[in-house]
Symmetry: C2
Subunit: 441 residues, 2 copies
Amino acid sequence: MPAPLKVALLGCGVVGTQVARRLVEHADELASRVGTRVDLVGIAVRDVAVPREDVTGTPLADLLTADAEALVDGADVVVELMGGIEPARTLILRAIQGGASVVTANKALLAQDGPALYAAADAAGVDLYFEAAVAGAIPIVRPVRESLAGDQVQRVLGIVNGTTNYVLDRMTTEGLELDQAVKEAQSLGYAEADPSADVDGYDAAAKAAILASLAFHTRVSLDDVSREGIGAVTADDVAWAQRTGHVIKLLAIAERNTSGGVTGIQVRVHPALVPADHPLAGVHGAFNAVFVEAEAAGELMFYGRGAGGAPTSSAVLGDLVSVARHRVLGGRGPVESSYAALPVLPADAARTKFQVRLDVADRPGVLAQVAARLADQDVSIEAVRQTAARVVEDDGADVAVARLLITTHAAPESALTATVAALTQLDAVRDVVSVLRVEGA
Amino acid sequence: MPAPLKVALLGCGVVGTQVARRLVEHADELASRVGTRVDLVGIAVRDVAVPREDVTGTPLADLLTADAEALVDGADVVVELMGGIEPARTLILRAIQGGASVVTANKALLAQDGPALYAAADAAGVDLYFEAAVAGAIPIVRPVRESLAGDQVQRVLGIVNGTTNYVLDRMTTEGLELDQAVKEAQSLGYAEADPSADVDGYDAAAKAAILASLAFHTRVSLDDVSREGIGAVTADDVAWAQRTGHVIKLLAIAERNTSGGVTGIQVRVHPALVPADHPLAGVHGAFNAVFVEAEAAGELMFYGRGAGGAPTSSAVLGDLVSVARHRVLGGRGPVESSYAALPVLPADAARTKFQVRLDVADRPGVLAQVAARLADQDVSIEAVRQTAARVVEDDGADVAVARLLITTHAAPESALTATVAALTQLDAVRDVVSVLRVEGA
């Protein structure tokens, strides 16, 4: 059997601890899969003295070190699980330049500096694997860049943030308002004390950038992703969605599109109405799923746990076995593929169906006025539903209104924006209650 | 750029034609992904003169040849899409021994002779890839053997036969009887004129053997798979399933199990009740899905089209890009991993929940007698539902019966078999209407 491989672990949080434990407990099995032993030689942490659950008092404690650089310099494979930009970036580059292969789960770093890291790994002839950076335990990086390598991806729709999926799911099943559901998620440990990275869609946007890069062989950075979180979604929106046979999901979307004669890709994150019979509608709780439409393969979906120590450690160890096997048997995994270099189209190039809810004056002719504003922008109406309601004015007066639910055919985002602006100018329109995109229909 | 790779295609059916077309139409993109051109140098068929849709009259027709051996001998990569055991096996071995890498979609051959082929490829140092052999377009081979290489799979539940899934889905949504649904599937081209390979579970069993081998690092052949088709499933079974919150699916199951102190695996194919909120319950029509439970990753599901020319060609081309890249860049994909060599446990070692439906005499004390027979075999009851019904005897008499629906806790298959035998001996039991396993609960 070839000489054992030395593995350095950077970071000893929830995922790091699980990776370390599994490396030790399953050492024999891993050796069978790799073709040689894979020895964990150290775990770099900021402060060795901090007590750590599942580490302090175990043999793992002896592996802790504060000298990350020395650890990296002696390793064959470096597993980076610190998160954040620095010192992760510097240590990963140091590892690559020293000839080590790298496995990372750092989506923020890859969404910001992926191309520089991929280029460094390519120049050094080492692997840089990152399955755990998108959708946790779900194998999605490998299927998209290897299994679909002979196909052409048309669209990726992902539920890639478990926190917001949990929140929206509770709003759907229990009728909770957003802030109630967020509090519940916080009490269960699904949401941070400051939930904005999840709720405002930043986390999903980083994953969207990575997924889009892989699926379309094009460099996509976080700045290319248009982003709208779930902060404006109300219990009323969720209830209306259900009445029309939909559920609301926060989606990361990357699609091939042609706009103004230019074929490119459009990458965005926003809440969307998804038909209740769409496979993504059945993704509940903190689960993640990525739905892929490819030219030949058709519709594919990958489903599983998108976060958590054990699930994420599974993805990290799968990568570790791959890069370790390459060191034993020769060869390398796929390098960054950006040959397509498609232009990233602006947000208003996206074409989707919309559902618009309006409160309008309850008198004849209003619907005709509203329909005319849509027609002005070439937005075609698929369906209108009108119900009578009563609302209480600021001055206490109780007035009759008509509530319109308009579903459009697919229209450019820019046309919809212009339409909504025109509608708000109409005297008869009391309120544009909500505007939601429909995806997967 | 390195010298172009020569690709030989064996077989020009629905999948072969799609592969050939995509190789030609997407030649530039494939070259970008592989790192050199991938040239289709010939397509071996039995009879060159037979007219072929999408081939005859196109440049592809010039590539047809009846001399498969000569074609194989000149190729860098051989793509086998003939199906069946011979001459596919001989040609694949010839290719391997000549130093070519092989991509195949031949599940029957792999389920029968996989180990010999894997060993030959390993000895020759070439790749043998077969993503398309299980679940068509769904990337499942690569995720199971690479992404989960650092994890331990506990169980695999697959809907791997689109024909039977379509049939059961139509029985569920339309209330059709089996033979009506099969006729419909035949008229749509989803089922063969002789539907027995699908309906009797042979196709699913071959895929179960391959999936089990991969997931448990153990050699599993078709003979190790216990098999029961959907032939006995009635519209009444389907309706009862719905009433109890289930759907009936034909599942390919492979699970780690301990029986009589021996840890091994149990591999089987049979119809099963699946809870309506389980992800597999939402897999409709001719779609396939594979649900995996792994120690660290937890629950994963892979969903997509399991058959058809274009979807299967996607999987074949993904493999082709992988093996071609290895020839350009060096290295090889995973070889057969059978180090775990777990014993395959007999069919009656499986433990599952059951739903048993009985017609019994409508008089006091019968339920007690029935319950005693279950207790005799240590089968514990989770729930009993009793309804009154009237049945017409052979002699025309109209008699009152009680209909019992008994759901058990998990019990060994052997205990259930003994229980059912004992129940049929009871005077008060008129008929054991159905016995169905419950999975995924």
